[in-house]
Symmetry: C2
Subunit: 479 residues, 2 copies
């Protein structure tokens, strides 16, 4: 069969062409399909199920911190977008404009939200009067549009799915606390659920969000040594509040401006999962985020009793709280193994007539391909442990890879050499001057990823200009 052949064909090796490998995996694991809408993708069931799990995990964590979900319009009238000067400069060049409603031109054109600060500010200006109305800790799940010139599935597309939190507080301290709190929620989520280790830090002024006082970020390293900004949390101070006149009467009866934050995570995390954990056989999903955790593959399934036993195992594993499927299609076991590997299902359970006779099955880990023989009656107890171990090992492996690809540079010669020859993070001191950031971008092709919270004193001078250093910075090439 043509389709069967296509799937078991080797995908491009990641060492040969990482970008092509990525595209192959995204397509062959059936995460997305291209569409007739340039720069926009169709997210298929296997991809969307990952996003549903991300949503579920994040939403639960948000609500534990008091977040409430809301929904704002998808359109922003041009005059509203223009209220905050830095913000409009940052976003206006990359928005999609609606100019006609039905058969008539609009009196004022509107953009499709690239992000919703302006809409939330407009709402808060109406909704907040007193200190009793604070804090507001709102979030929405939606899609946003940014008119990117070059696009790649999950990593950069003209429309993407995300959540955007928008909060308003009575004091600057409380806003800063919330900004850091949400960054920590993202970092814990990435490490605990996605098995992706992250560096927490602050963006330089050059790299911060348009309109923010401070942008905090978590940065992760992909298998090819490129960095991925994985979640950001912004403290706006009272800049937006002043532009939108969001004031409240405080306990002391004085009118004050609120302090605001926003924070977001997107479907690009699906890209991160692929690029951190995937291998030359396809996707490898961390057990906690995998829509299907166990794929039961019966061998010689036409032999009497095999499918019945497989059904028993499936029932027992589901009873144990696992997400399980049985592949009883008429294809060969080899084909089924390839498909399970391509789709990144964390473990498969192989069981044929001889296994059944011996009262056992073989559990194969997707990440290491380790084969573990387990008594059938113990599967429901042991597989959860195997998945836990796999989850921990995946995080550890990603951390080891990242640390092995994190380099230190003391001067321009060293940083050029590393950037040219050793893909990864580069730690280097910086004077705080944007001119040096610009020069590193132009001459070395790297950008500042963040000023990490965990600072180290690598030397006393800026890697670029040699003047006194103020901060250690993580640099890198980024998606």
């Amino acid at each position: 069969m043509a389709k069967e052949k296509k799937l078991v064909e080797a995908i491009t090796s990641m060492d040969e062409d990482f970008a092509q490998w990525y595209t192959d995996v995204v397509k062959k694991a059936e995460l997305i399909d291209y569409t007739s809408v340039k720069g926009c993708m169709a997210i298929k069931p296997a991809g969307y199920a990952i996003w549903e799990n991300i949503q579920h995990e994040l939403d639960r964590r948000f609500k534990e911190t008091g977040v409430q979900n809301v929904y704002m319009p998808m359109f922003i009238p041009e005059s509203l977008l223009q209220k905050e000067k830095d913000h409009v400069e940052g976003f206006a060049p990359e928005v999609a404009w609606v100019t006609h409603g039905g058969l008539e031109p609009l009196q004022e054109r509107m953009c499709v939200r690239p992000t919703s600060e302006t809409l939330f500010c407009d709402f808060y200006a109406r909704d907040i009067q007193s200190y009793r109305d604070l804090p507001k800790v709102y979030n929405q799940w939606c899609s946003v549009v940014r008119w990117e010139k070059t696009t790649r599935p999950f990593l950069r597309s003209r429309e993407f799915l995300w959540q955007e939190g928008h909060t308003a507080h009575a004091t600057a301290e409380e806003a800063e606390e919330r900004t850091i709190q949400m960054l920590n929620v993202y970092a814990d989520f990435c490490e605990e659920v996605l098995a992706i280790p992250v560096i927490k830090g602050r963006k330089t002024d050059k790299e911060k969000f348009a309109g923010a006082e401070a942008t905090y970020t978590i940065e992760s390293l992909m298998h090819d040594g490129k960095a991925l900004q994985s979640g950001t949390s912004h403290n706006f101070g009272d800049g937006f509040a002043k532009a939108f006149d969001i004031q409240f009467t405080d306990r002391d009866n004085k009118l004050k401006y609120v302090h605001q934050t926003s924070w977001g995570m997107t479907t690009r995390m699906i890209g991160a999962i692929i690029m951190v954990h995937g291998d030359n056989s396809g996707l490898v999903l961390p057990p906690r985020i995998a829509p299907v955790q166990v794929d039961i593959i019966p061998i010689q399934q036409k032999k009497p009793g095999i499918l019945e036993k497989a059904a028993e195992i499936e029932a027992a594993l589901k009873e144990a709280g696992l997400r399980v499927k049985t592949d009883d299609s008429d294809r060969s076991p080899g084909w089924k193994f390839s498909e399970q590997e391509m789709r990144g299902i964390p473990v498969r359970v192989e069981m044929g007539p001889k296994d059944m006779e011996a009262g056992q099955a073989v559990v194969v880990r997707r990440d290491t391909r380790e084969k573990i023989t387990v008594a059938i009656e113990n599967l429901a107890a042991e597989i959860p442990q195997i998945l836990d171990t796999m989850q921990k090992d995946m995080l550890e492996r990603a951390r080891t890879h990242r640390d092995a690809h994190t380099y230190v540079a003391h001067n321009m010669e060293e940083i050029k050499d590393i950037a040219d020859n050793k893909p990864g993070f580069i730690k280097a001191m910086w004077c705080g001057d944007q001119a040096c950031e610009d020069r590193l971008k132009d001459e070395v092709g790297i950008t500042s990823r963040c000023m990490p919270f965990k600072q180290e004193q690598l030397s006393d001078v800026c890697v670029c200009c040699g003047k006194p250093a103020k901060k250690m910075v993580y640099w890198g090439k980024a998606y």
Copy 2:
């Protein structure tokens, strides 16, 4: 306090001005706020939490029937929208057009999806080759845009949230079966969860969806006697498949067109909940959909032990699986009662020092205001039963109201008299001719709601023209 006053102010009486009553409830129960984006609303936490519960309940029911969630782009290139003739005629006059991306005009303008048949067809044309690829049973949760001239919160807004299911099948029979299956899912959901009784039926050709072969609908009756189309399920036959060339190789090795369906339910159901169950004190939420089911209101809460006992009760009720909050704010019990009633929380638990001494509390039902004295240690066992009874009673009451407002007309004189004087459904026979539908709309101001599955033979002749009747139709004024 100004805010306190505002809330306890009486809302407009529903008998005096139903439309104003609706607007008051929507605003004072804090379900939505108006925005600077004309015709679009901001859904606030209390409103969005209802939508989250609707999503949760529907999504679970969908998945039990094999539905998989996906996500398609929000934009439709004009040429794609135009591929199916009836469909474009139905929707083109009411879409929003994107003409510029970033600073440049688009080569081809795109509309923001008013519905996604064309996008799913484009996708299926690529994705379906063989009978092995069928059926496709996909759904997405998203927002859509229709450029309405007059808007009302939840009932008709330029952007609204919904789910849209889109399926493709090998045979006409399977498509018809799925169409009816999903209509039944909607009907059961409305009755079991929202306590809203519905009439199931088929739309006339005049009222069917643009491009559909058959549209099925569930119709409900609001408190003011107007009808609300509450969910629709469409069978497209192979019309879209031919327009988009969606063919598959069947088992007999022949190329065939697929048969398709689509089905949707929207945030207007929140409007239905308000208009079916609400009263002059505000919202009344059916227990199964209420984000908060129990509001514990301590009386004389500064007396020793009261708040501690309230916390104990809250813990016990949560343990029993209920959604509970305690209002320990510094406002008066009367204010708290009004707020609980305005927000439609199904029951409140009142407990003061004397109750505590007697080891009891008073449970007050929101719908009937019945007061039930319950021993504190029995609250966790009895409140779930009280909520169950309330849920059943609400459905029964809505059904009784609807039946009492369903009339039979045999001729034009009768139907005019009913339409003018008795708001409600009108059952009447119809010849099947669209001219009669047009005349009833123009002269009587009513539209055909559906041809119910449960047909009755009220007479042999059409209510309008007197020619032989083919169908009994439910007629009414609709939102």
